[in-house]
């Protein structure tokens, strides 16, 4: 094989606003890189084949599966995890609504849920409950159930719309 291909790849990206440089194994997932190399354990690795949504992180403004993207592919990207979004307070209203409405029990699914919801609400307006459920159909919660999560999302969407209108 030629020297074209690398089994270790050099990457430079920003994570939660901070520049990061690293040398990663070619097959390493983004979520494992975030967890193991950067200690950002908010996004979880669970099913590792795209089904559960626990690994959802934000890459270049979009919610993506951290288990279906290689760290090598994040070279040059802007990555945000629940830790960074908590620090900037961008999703504080969502987090408060989740607590208020008991939309989490063990909390395993919550970081992924929050990032998926953030994307939905960035579109503006107040999505219907059916739209909320559809958008979250790829995020599994094994203990709380979905009713409280949908309630929390709806509450925040309404509150933001009212603030926007005021």
């Amino acid at each position: 094989m030629t020297g074209l291909f690398r089994d270790k790849v050099d990457i430079a990206l920003t994570v939660n606003g901070e520049p990061v440089e690293a040398r990663v194994p070619a097959g390493q997932h983004l979520v494992d890189f975030l967890r193991a190399s950067l200690g950002l354990t908010g996004a979880h690795a669970s099913c590792e084949h795209g089904v559960c949504g626990a690994c959802t992180v934000q890459v270049d403004g979009k919610a993506v599966r951290g288990c279906l993207m290689l760290a090598a592919q994040a070279d040059g990207a802007e990555v945000w995890t629940v830790e960074g979004l908590s620090d900037t307070a961008e999703i504080n209203d969502l987090q408060e609504a989740f607590v208020e409405r008991n939309a989490l029990q063990c909390g395993f699914c919550t970081p992924g849920m929050l990032i998926a919801v953030k994307e939905l609400l960035a579109g503006g307006g107040v999505p219907s409950r059916a739209e909320i459920r559809e958008h979250l159909s790829g995020n599994y919660c094994r203990c709380t159930g979905y009713e409280a999560i949908v309630d929390a999302v709806e509450t925040v969407a309404r509150a933001r719309a009212e603030r926007g209108a005021a």
């Binding site: 089994d7 949504g53 599966r65 993207m69 290689l70 592919q73 159909s137």
Partner: protein, 277 residues
């Protein structure tokens, strides 16, 4: 489980990607959105691949129109297909299909070219481009080739793309003003692959009907199409049974899939008739 890759390189244009594939001694694997490939690598269904990452090749993304057709770049993500105005106007079947594919986060990265090259028999886009009579454009070091959708899908996960070639895009004839297009399917949960699905196009009084998840590859149901052209819907539902070849798996039995195919065809016809009244 964790993926294992034999190596990785990112191509910045098509030529470079083709050269990388040629240099990989047959173990090169094109990586686009990764939403099927990385899942397969994680499950160790695919190991030791030398990954040629094409996801940043700008010339392969986007949608353009000519007077009578649309060109859709292979790297156009599902989410963009869903919101693109040209596609909504000229190939609405594909816009509708997106709602059935996976979940929002997967649609952000998965690409139409990846879905077509992957050729899952239960996937929406392969059946969609078959019903639309699309042409698939592939390119190798020897140059480009055009492949009609009818010849592109060959078997389960098998297409007419040769080793060392890349799918660069597809062309779709623009819908006529009186044309009707629809897609419908049954899946157990939102975002799951379909148990059975139907794409129906009515163009200048002629029908094109394709089905997915009822055979090892998407099927153009020619016998049922002839009945629809005659206006015999019940005849089409009967004829359809000879066009398809479903199998049983943990999701559904072959008998149930046959039943669904007939129901979905009736629903698709009703949708198209409802729209044209």
């Amino acid at each position: 489980m964790k993926a294992s890759a034999g190596g990785y390189a990112r191509a910045s244009d098509v030529r470079q990607a083709l050269e990388m594939l040629a240099a990989s001694d047959g173990s090169g694997r094109v990586l686009a959105g990764g939403q099927s490939l990385i899942a397969a690598m994680n499950m160790r269904l695919s190991t030791g691949d030398i990954l040629v990452d094409i996801s940043r090749i700008e010339e392969l993304a986007g949608v353009r129109e000519t007077s009578d057709s649309l060109w859709i770049g292979a790297l156009t993500p599902h989410a963009e297909i869903g919101r693109n105005a040209l596609i909504r106007d000229h190939a609405p079947l594909l816009s509708q299909a997106v709602g059935f594919i996976a979940h929002a986060a997967i649609r952000n990265r998965g690409t139409i070219g990846g879905a077509l090259a992957h050729a899952d028999p239960a996937a929406e886009f392969p059946a969609g481009v078959l019903a639309l009579g699309a042409t698939l454009h592939v390119e190798g070091l020897d140059g480009p080739r055009d492949i009609p959708a009818e010849d592109f899908f060959q078997d389960i996960f098998e297409t007419a793309i040769d080793d060392g070639e890349i799918l660069t895009g597809i062309s779709i004839p623009k819908a006529a003003s009186d044309e009707r297009q629809t897609i419908t399917e049954v899946a157990r949960r939102s975002g799951d692959y379909a148990l059975a699905g139907v794409c129906l196009v009515k163009r200048s009084g002629k029908h094109r009907l394709s089905l997915f998840s009822v055979a090892p590859k998407p099927v153009l149901a020619v016998q049922a199409m002839a009945e629809l052209d005659r206006g015999d819907i019940e005849g089409a539902v009967r004829a359809l049974q000879a066009d398809i070849d479903p199998s049983s798996d943990t999701q559904a039995t072959a008998t149930y899939r046959r039943h669904l195919a007939g129901i979905l065809l009736r629903r698709a016809v009703a949708t198209i008739q409802g729209e044209s009244e």
